[in-house]
């Protein structure tokens, strides 16, 4: 086994899932390294949840294999389930049970000894800011608090790797930031995190490495900086015209413009040759009798990197 393989806590090899002739996940391979936050980014329907479900044993694997800390999920499902913590995309704890009872039940099912599960539940309620809701029923909690308790429940048995499926889905800005803080803090304390999300900002902000999946295939994998460099040639020009704005279709005809969209009453152009695009813009404005009222230039941000990698032209 090579050094690179040794540091893999979760290795996915040629993972494939077919549903009645439809290929949802297509021969994907990657490695999650011990101690990292691994982002699994993709648009809705890309195959993220199917992948996480196969890794956790909730969906059968058509082909390929998943090795977690040396154990194959298909051959040793119960051993793997002891090693992993899973937070599904919905907060599905038991509604009539209190926060405390939910955590204790999870501890019981993972075989955590009695004294240990009491200590762990108290610790987690404190860490997640839920101590004062200890005796509240799960169904009475707000969406954000439910999410926090669902993550806490997945940590009751001190898993080696935590799988989070869209952890901030449907939360407000404050709720999102609280979860982000928790994920970072957990990782700082040594928890390896596998994070699936369709939120580009979230993936780039939290992850040490990111795999981008689209149509069931991994199209790029690397650190956020690696991914930015893959589209390093691309830059962003924000431009506005007076007395009137041309159409998006006309703008896309300008030489050097890769993608374009309208943002806040101006055009945001992704270009791969700035000089050519600037020349084209000036020529375009002259030809149409327009004035350029605003023009700014900067490097591509995470959203633009993502769109470029998944090949979306005018989103």
């Amino acid at each position: 086994m090579t050094a690179a393989q040794q540091e893999c806590i979760c290795r996915v090899e040629g993972l494939t899932k077919d549903y009645n002739g439809f290929r949802a996940v297509d021969r994907i391979s990657f490695c999650v390294r011990r101690g990292e936050i691994f982002g699994f980014l993709g648009p809705n329907g890309a195959g993220k949840t199917t992948t996480i479900r196969m890794i956790c044993g909730l969906t059968r694997i058509t082909r390929g294999r998943v090795i977690v800390d040396g154990h194959d999920i298909s051959r040793e499902p119960r051993t793997v389930k002891k090693l992993i913590g899973v937070v599904p995309d919905m907060s599905n704890l038991y509604s009539e049970l209190s926060c405390w009872d939910n955590l204790i039940f999870c501890g019981e099912m993972y075989g955590v000894p009695r004294d240990e599960r009491i200590r762990r539940a108290e610790e987690l309620l404190e860490f997640f800011g839920l101590a004062r809701f200890k005796n509240k029923k799960f169904k009475t909690l707000s969406k954000g608090l439910k999410r926090r308790l669902t993550i806490a429940a997945a940590l009751m048995h001190n898993p080696k790797i935590l799988f989070l499926d869209e952890p901030t889905l449907g939360l407000d800005v404050i709720g999102k930031r609280k979860i982000w803080h928790i994920i970072k803090e957990l990782n700082r304390r040594g928890v390896t995190v596998f994070l699936t999300t369709h939120n580009i900002y979230e993936a780039f902000k939290l992850s040490h490495r990111i795999a981008i999946i689209n149509h069931g295939k991994i199209i790029a994998i690397g650190t956020p900086n690696d991914l930015r460099q893959m589209v390093a040639a691309e830059e962003v020009i924000d431009v506005s015209f007076t007395p009137n704005m041309p159409s998006l279709e006309d703008i896309l005809e300008i030489k050097g413009v890769v993608r374009a969209k309208i943002v806040d009453n101006m055009f945001r152009l992704i270009v791969n040759d700035v000089l050519e695009a600037l020349d084209g813009l000036v020529e375009f404005a002259r030809r149409r009798g327009l004035n350029i009222s605003l023009l700014s230039l900067r490097g591509a941000d995470s959203e633009e990197v993502f769109l470029s990698l998944v090949g979306v032209r005018n989103a």
């Binding site: 119960r78 599905n92 099912m109």
Partner: protein, 243 residues
């Protein structure tokens, strides 16, 4: 095996906290069978002593299946059933745990029905030990039947309808209110296929010392075998539910 039982115990404990006051469980599991029993005892007078064991078995069937069914259907609907599949446990633990919840609930309601029967008829079972064994076996059989039934229902909103389609005919065909040997021979064949028939015969023998068509030793064996078969089939269905 020890792990299977421990996990089943935790699941049952959780289910009792979570579901014992759900409206479906209370109405179909407690109110209906007890009201039915009282009404029947009042109406049938002296004939009631013969009918009482059948009513106790019927109470068990309704309460144990309702409890087991409610927990599975509710959890499948809101997605929390998947949580059980994430735990490092065997499918048999889940099937058994879900049955244990129904078992406890069935035992409580059957004892309540027994006390109602006793207070009206002032008659104790002729073989008290066999009566207790019969109750336990019947409760286990009904709970495991309820769990299996809940897994066969595709649309959770149709659960009680499906449950009642299966349960109501048993009232008339399993010897609860009509002796099986008085049914037409063709109908008696159906009676042999119904799980409640064996528990009614068993409880009746332990309570009043007589049975209709099934020897109590055979009834005990069939009830045990049926319980094991129901749980095994449930475990298979849970495994098959993984896409």
């Amino acid at each position: 095996m020890r792990d299977v039982l421990i996990h089943a115990y935790y699941i049952a404990k959780k289910d009792l906290k979570e579901y014992y006051m759900k409206p479906g469980t209370v109405s179909w599991g407690i109110l209906f069978p007890i009201t039915f029993s009282i009404a029947f005892i009042f109406r049938r007078g002296a004939y009631s002593l013969w009918a009482a064991p059948g009513l106790i078995a019927l109470t068990i069937l309704f309460s144990a299946t309702s409890m087991a069914g409610a927990s599975i259907v509710f959890e499948r609907r809101i997605g929390s059933f998947e949580r059980l599949l994430l735990f490092p446990t065997r499918y048999a633990s889940i099937a058994l745990g879900k049955s244990f919840g129904g078992l406890f609930f069935g035992l409580i309601t059957s004892l309540t029905t027994f006390l109602i029967v006793y207070s009206f008829l002032n008659s104790l079972p002729v073989n008290p030990i066999l009566f207790i064994v019969s109750l336990l076996l019947t409760v286990f059989q009904s709970a495991s039947f309820g769990v299996l039934l809940a897994f066969t229902v595709k649309d959770p909103s149709q659960t009680m309808t499906v449950f009642n389609i299966v349960r109501f005919p048993m009232i008339f065909l399993s010897g609860v209110i009509i002796p099986i040997n008085q049914l037409p021979p063709l109908i008696q064949i159906i009676s042999y296929l119904l799980p409640l028939t064996y528990s009614v015969e068993l409880i009746r023998y332990s309570y009043i010392g007589e049975y209709s068509i099934i020897n109590p030793v055979i009834a005990i064996m069939v009830v045990i075998i049926q319980s094991i078969v129901f749980l095994t089939l449930t475990s298979i269905l849970i495994k098959k539910s993984i896409p």
